[in-house]
């Protein structure tokens, strides 16, 4: 579960953002819609604890992030938030499987190969596990990054424009997978996008 109150952020005195409060419980979904330049990515980075807000508060799994040190923030993020970026990025030297195991390794958890293979089966890229990521198509890469975001059983899944580079068929597929996967682990799913195709898929919406 994730919530925010009175979030404000400024890159410079001219470029200030203040964001509406959001609230997304476990197993719930939330769509944040906004045109470019409205601070969508900034909001996502604030929610993902990658940026520190000027004022306001982000709560994740009932924990306020305000009082935490940099290391505690990193650890909170790594264990509780799965992030899916607009363009899927990977460690290019590693295979798909190793990229999936990377989140486990980086938070010093057991590297769960069984889970990785299971996710690959559910998301339909089992045959690509030993390939390098750049050998996969955009849609396949996006599915791998969804799998990666689930590896640590996060409490919250944040997706930044997960569908904007995909065609209609893949768009549908990806969004259904996201919803199904987050529901199955009981996580909150927050999608930030300008993609109008997703409007009808989410009942909870915030417009920036």
């Amino acid at each position: 579960m994730i919530s925010s109150r009175n979030l404000r952020f400024s890159y410079s005195p001219q470029k200030k953002f203040s964001f509406p409060d959001i609230q997304c419980g476990n197993k719930e979904t939330l769509l944040i819609l906004g045109q470019s330049g409205r601070g969508k990515t900034t909001l996502l980075h604030l929610l993902a604890l990658l940026l520190k807000p000027e004022s306001g508060e982000v709560r994740i799994a009932d924990k306020s992030s305000n009082a935490l040190s940099q290391e505690e923030l990193t650890s909170l993020r790594a264990r509780n938030i799965g992030i899916i970026y607009q363009r899927p990025h990977f460690v290019s030297a590693l295979s798909v499987l190793d990229n999936l195991l990377l989140p486990n390794f980086l938070v010093n958890q057991k590297q769960d190969k069984v889970k990785a293979v299971q996710l690959a089966e559910q998301l339909g890229f089992t045959e690509h596990l030993s390939k390098k990521t750049h050998q996969l198509s955009q849609g396949e890469q996006q599915r791998v990054s969804i799998a990666r975001s689930l590896m640590n059983n996060p409490n919250v899944i944040l997706a930044d424009e997960p569908t904007s580079n995909l065609d209609d068929v893949n768009c549908q597929k990806v969004i259904q997978l996201l919803k199904a996967q987050s529901a199955s682990i009981g996580a909150s799913l927050v999608v930030v996008t300008h993609d109008q195709r997703l409007k009808d898929e989410f009942s909870n919406q915030v417009i920036l």
């Binding site: 790594a78 290019s92 190793d98």
Partner: protein
């Protein structure tokens, strides 16, 4: 998965860059290591054979040539000197031993040296088979000679005149092998040792043949050989090539060489001085090569630096990604450091291997030309230091660009792409 695996994967991803960095390190390390090996080998070979020889006397000419020909058996002799003058040295109270040498013939490129039993004693040669030569035209051969020529005890052979195989054959008289020395690492390994009188006999006979018949030499030929009874022959009108001299005390060093140079037809050469001179001549070349190797290692360091710097720029997003997934900056720094260290380790071992290959090539060339072989492929103490030097260069070259990890702005990097 672990850091090492990620580092290795990153190096494999940039095969050519990694190869170039490792190759440069290999060349630099290989050159330095080869120089160290050669230096040690040459030093050992030269010092070992020089031990206990304070002075060499021989015909006037280049003192270095005299030393090289008489001690190391690698250059042509300077000429002949009367045996009487050499033997006169024995009367000097400062002189402990005088070992006359007589050379001029070879068998398949191995020199036949006429000398006294003191020579064998001096180099500490021990017999492996048979016995030491006793009569004229009997020889005892060094271990390498036996191996290369397949001569066995009891075999007979005729020598060739001069110091290379192309010389005219002395076909009329044959040497007989009575013994073989065990290998002892000194110059004896590559020599065929015999009595002084053998060399005279062979040549008198040859002269006799070419001149027709000379009564005088004929007479001498039939005289009983005094050397046979006496271990250190003293014959008038005979000549030897040179003599190795050992002093009783260092005072000899101050007076005798000058006496010889001023008052006799001979010259005196001091091995320690000549070899130091030779090494200082070689030293310039060695220093130049060493500087060149250092420069190559420096370039290798720069190459590691540049390739890691570039790959870090390309992998900035990956780094931000890993940081967002919970990696600490120190961990990523360590990962990059391991990449540099891996290159250094690979370069080091390839370099050490290369230097051994180089040494064995050099050795076979030296063996062919001088019958000297270079051994000792073990790791030198200096090479252990070289290992830490290589690690240091790899670490520094990797650490400098990798410090950028600590300044990376995760949010901005992730948002930019």
């Amino acid at each position: 998965m672990n850091l090492l695996k990620i580092s290795l994967a990153n190096l494999k991803e940039k095969k050519l860059n990694s190869f170039l960095s490792a190759l440069l390190l290999t060349l630099g390390i290989g050159m330095i290591s080869l120089l160290l090996l050669l230096n040690k080998q040459l030093d050992e070979q030269f010092r070992k054979n020089i031990k206990g020889i304070d002075m060499v006397v021989g015909a006037k000419g280049s003192p270095l040539q005299l030393i090289l020909s008489s001690i190391y058996q690698i250059d042509a002799p300077t000429g002949n000197v009367p045996l009487a003058e050499v033997n006169a040295l024995r009367r000097n109270p400062f002189v402990k031993t005088v070992i006359p040498l007589s050379m001029g013939d070879n068998f398949q490129g191995f020199r036949i040296v006429g000398t006294t039993p003191k020579y064998i004693e001096h180099f500490g040669a021990k017999l492996a088979q048979g016995q030491v030569y006793n009569a004229s035209l009997e020889v005892t051969i060094g271990n390498k000679v036996a191996r290369m020529t397949n001569l066995k005890v009891g075999d007979q052979f005729s020598s060739a005149h001069g110091l290379d195989q192309a010389g005219e054959k002395h076909g009329e008289k044959k040497y007989k092998v009575t013994g073989i020395f065990s290998p002892n690492g000194s110059v004896v390994d590559q020599l065929i040792l015999t009595r002084l009188s053998s060399v005279w006999d062979i040549h008198e006979h040859a002269e006799e043949h070419s001149k027709g018949s000379s009564e005088k030499s004929h007479e001498e030929h039939h005289k009983p050989l005094p050397g046979q009874a006496e271990p250190e022959p003293d014959e008038e009108n005979k000549q030897v090539t040179s003599a190795l001299v050992q002093f009783r005390n260092p005072m000899g060093l101050l007076t005798i060489p000058r006496q010889i140079n001023d008052n006799t037809s001979m010259q005196a050469a001091l091995p320690s001085i000549e070899i130091s001179r030779l090494f200082s001549l070689l030293g310039v070349g060695i220093e130049t090569l060493r500087a060149l190797a250092m420069i190559i290692i420096g370039i290798a360091g720069v190459s590691v630096f540049v390739s890691l710097y570039n790959s870090l720029k390309e992998r900035k997003y990956e780094m931000a990604l890993m940081l967002s997934m919970g990696a600490t900056r120190t961990r990523l720094f360590l990962m990059l450091l391991i990449e540099g260290l891996l290159l250094a380790v690979v370069g080091y071992f390839a370099g050490i291997l290369l230097s051994r290959v180089g040494l064995s090539l050099f050795s076979s060339a030296a063996e062919q030309d001088f019958h000297y072989s270079l051994k000792g492929f073990g790791l030198l103490k200096e090479e252990v230091f070289l290992f830490f030097g290589a690690l240091f260069i790899g670490a520094v070259a990797a650490a400098l660009p990798s410090l950028g990890i600590y300044r990376l702005n995760i949010s901005r990097t992730l948002a930019e792409e």
